[in-house]
């Protein structure tokens, strides 16, 4: 589940030859959807008509209210009579929180390694290179599942695993950017003024490459959402009584014949979220044009 299309084997970015201009209406739609999704997750306590684990066994697997289901259940109910709409809102909160945390872990780890490799070069670059080779040698899904089998399931491990997804993209990107920054006059000038490298990197180089990092984060984020929901779908990610969009599809799958809305509602939300982030990320890259081309 990896967007690796954008780099060649030795880590140079290949240009997607034309930067396409997306219709502004599509972008406006994507941004509004993301705003609504984030707000819904953040304000789930207020917006949700019910708690995400409130059961009502009298109204199990009832269709959405607009299809003749019980009043006030906009997306219908699931196998325990829980309100699917409320569960989607809370799932959105947990899924987004975990995906954002995982992304920050990965971006932080990758950025750190990128800086180390660019500063010390030599051995650090070899270590980075070996780690990248190693990561590329095991399909990430298998790697994540093996870690879960060896260490048992926990939220902490789960977030770390999501963070490990894609760290190498940040490491390569940052290494390249820092190496080219070191050639520029301002770094040389700061060094001659006697500033400590850590200060130069954190106060001067990092802000300069921040835009490119941010673009990379938006490009990686859909993959993280899909990975989180995929593992939760398999029952190996977020565990009940907590809920996530993938977990909802996983349990809704058993009721496809009788209650399709239990799987379709969270599935559509995942799809629209991943799609919106992708569109915004591409648009962002085109606008900033911050990615270094070869």
């Amino acid at each position: 589940m990896k967007e690796q299309a954008a780099t060649d084997p030795i880590g140079r970015r290949t240009t997607f030859a034309s930067t396409r201009r997306l219709p502004s209406l599509v972008i406006a739609g994507a941004i509004s959807f993301l705003l609504v999704a984030v707000m819904s997750g953040a304000l789930a306590d207020i917006l949700a008509p019910q708690g995400y684990n409130d059961q009502n066994l009298l109204i199990r697997l009832k269709p959405p209210s607009f299809l003749g289901g019980p009043h006030g259940y906009y997306f219908g109910t699931d196998e325990l009579g829980r309100d699917v709409f409320s569960r989607v809102l809370f799932s959105l909160r947990f899924s987004l929180l975990i995906a954002v945390t995982g992304t920050l872990v990965g971006a932080g780890f990758g950025t750190l390694l990128g800086f180390l490799a660019a500063h010390f070069q030599g051995l650090w670059e070899d270590i980075l290179s070996a780690l990248v080779d190693f990561q590329a040698s095991i399909p990430f899904m298998i790697f994540a599942l093996a870690a879960l089998a060896f260490f048992g399931n926990s939220i902490f491990l789960f977030v770390i695993l999501l963070g490990l997804y894609g760290w190498e993209v940040y490491a390569r990107l940052v290494r390249g950017l820092v190496l080219s920054a070191k050639e520029l006059g301002y770094v040389e000038a700061l060094r001659n003024l006697g500033f400590h490298p850590i200060r130069i990197y954190s106060r001067h180089v990092l802000p300069n490459i921040g835009g490119a990092l941010l673009v990379q984060i938006t490009l990686n984020f859909p993959g993280i959402i899909l990975l989180e929901s995929g593992l939760s779908f398999l029952g190996l990610g977020i565990q009940p009584p907590l809920t996530s969009l993938g977990l909802m599809i996983g349990s809704g799958r058993e009721f496809m014949t009788t209650a399709w809305w239990t799987a379709v509602a969270p599935g559509t939300v995942i799809f629209l979220t991943a799609l919106s982030v992708t569109l915004v990320g591409d648009w962002f890259r085109d606008r900033l044009d911050a990615m270094p081309s070869n």
Partner: protein, 312 residues
């Protein structure tokens, strides 16, 4: 392609495999005492010691490591608790099913992704191009498990054309192959388009154009071979994506392959089976990437002269 290039690449592949073995060994040792994981909680200490000695766990860590590597080289990955057979056997019997699905998925990805990408690049900014881009973006945002479920709802439940789960007939293969194939086709189409656009903008293509050769000939004879180089690299990555994708798709469609075995083994914490799957998939990936490197070196002789790697 120089012999040095071949040797360096093969050595790198071997080194990566050694890294994988070492990594799994370390993970297993970090994960806790394997004897305690195997035996019930109230086992007397003397029995625990007996097992420890029998399994060589009382030896120093480097001896354990050497023994571990030796057993892996002998294909001894331990026993599957569930059915009491060697883990390797439990995994290898699932390989044909996964290979069938993998090749079918790859075929779908190539048959859809390549022509779509080429058409989009040749007819740049046309309605075809826009459709292909939309397909690539949308296709990459649909979770495979959700797409699979939608297919089941449409073709198994509403239309009743195809069976929803199992692997008894070729009809069972259609939906899993489409799910895994179309997802990869989206990536491939996007990549092929970019690669073709790069080539089409080169000066020699303008010469071909100026010579007035027919357009289909122009593309097949002059553009495609050069565009193929990055696309072949992409295929190496797709092998990994097929393996990753198989985990979810085989679960959705109850396809009896390695992916589904992985999920049940992880849920039951069958460490022996899981480590076997890790080694075999790493082996498959390393072989695929080695093959890609060799094809790559053959397609573009310039590559054989440098060894690649990030620090260079």
């Amino acid at each position: 392609m120089s012999a040095r290039f071949l040797i360096v690449r093969t050595l790198r592949a071997l080194l990566t495999l050694i890294l994988v073995v070492t990594f799994v060994f370390l993970m297993l040792r970090l994960a806790g005492d394997p004897i305690k994981m195997l035996l019930p909680e109230d086992t007397p200490a003397s029995v625990v010691e007996q097992y420890r000695a029998r399994w060589g766990m009382d030896a120093p860590i480097y001896v354990q490591y050497i023994r571990y590597v030796a057993s892996v080289l002998h294909g001894d990955f331990g026993m599957s608790f569930r059915d009491g057979r060697p883990a390797l056997q439990a995994v290898t019997e699932r390989i044909p099913a996964t290979l069938t699905l993998g090749f079918a998925g790859l075929a779908v990805a190539l048959l859809v992704g390549l022509p779509a990408g080429i058409a989009a690049a040749v007819m740049r900014n046309s309605i075809v191009d826009r459709s292909v881009i939309s397909f690539a973006v949308v296709g990459h945002s649909v979770p495979t498990f959700f797409f699979g479920i939608l297919l089941i709802m449409l073709f198994s439940m509403s239309l009743r054309w195809l069976p929803s789960s199992g692997s008894a007939t070729w009809a069972h293969l259609v939906m899993p192959a489409l799910t895994i194939g179309l997802w990869n086709a989206a990536t491939l189409a996007r990549f092929t388009r970019a690669s073709m656009l790069d080539v089409l903008s080169q000066a020699y293509m303008k010469t071909v154009l100026a010579n007035g050769l027919p357009s289909s000939w122009r593309i097949l004879r002059y553009a495609l071979p050069n565009a193929a180089i990055p696309i072949v690299t992409m295929l190496g990555l797709i092998v990994g994506q097929l393996l990753s994708g198989a985990v979810i798709v085989e679960t959705v469609f109850a396809w009896p392959g390695i992916g589904r075995l992985t999920v049940t083994a992880v849920a039951g914490r069958e460490v022996a089976v899981v480590q076997t799957i890790v080694f075999l998939s790493a082996l498959a990936m390393v072989m695929a990437n080695l093959l890609v490197d060799l094809i790559y070196g053959w397609l573009d002789p310039r590559i054989g002269s440098k060894t690649g790697g990030m620090s260079r």
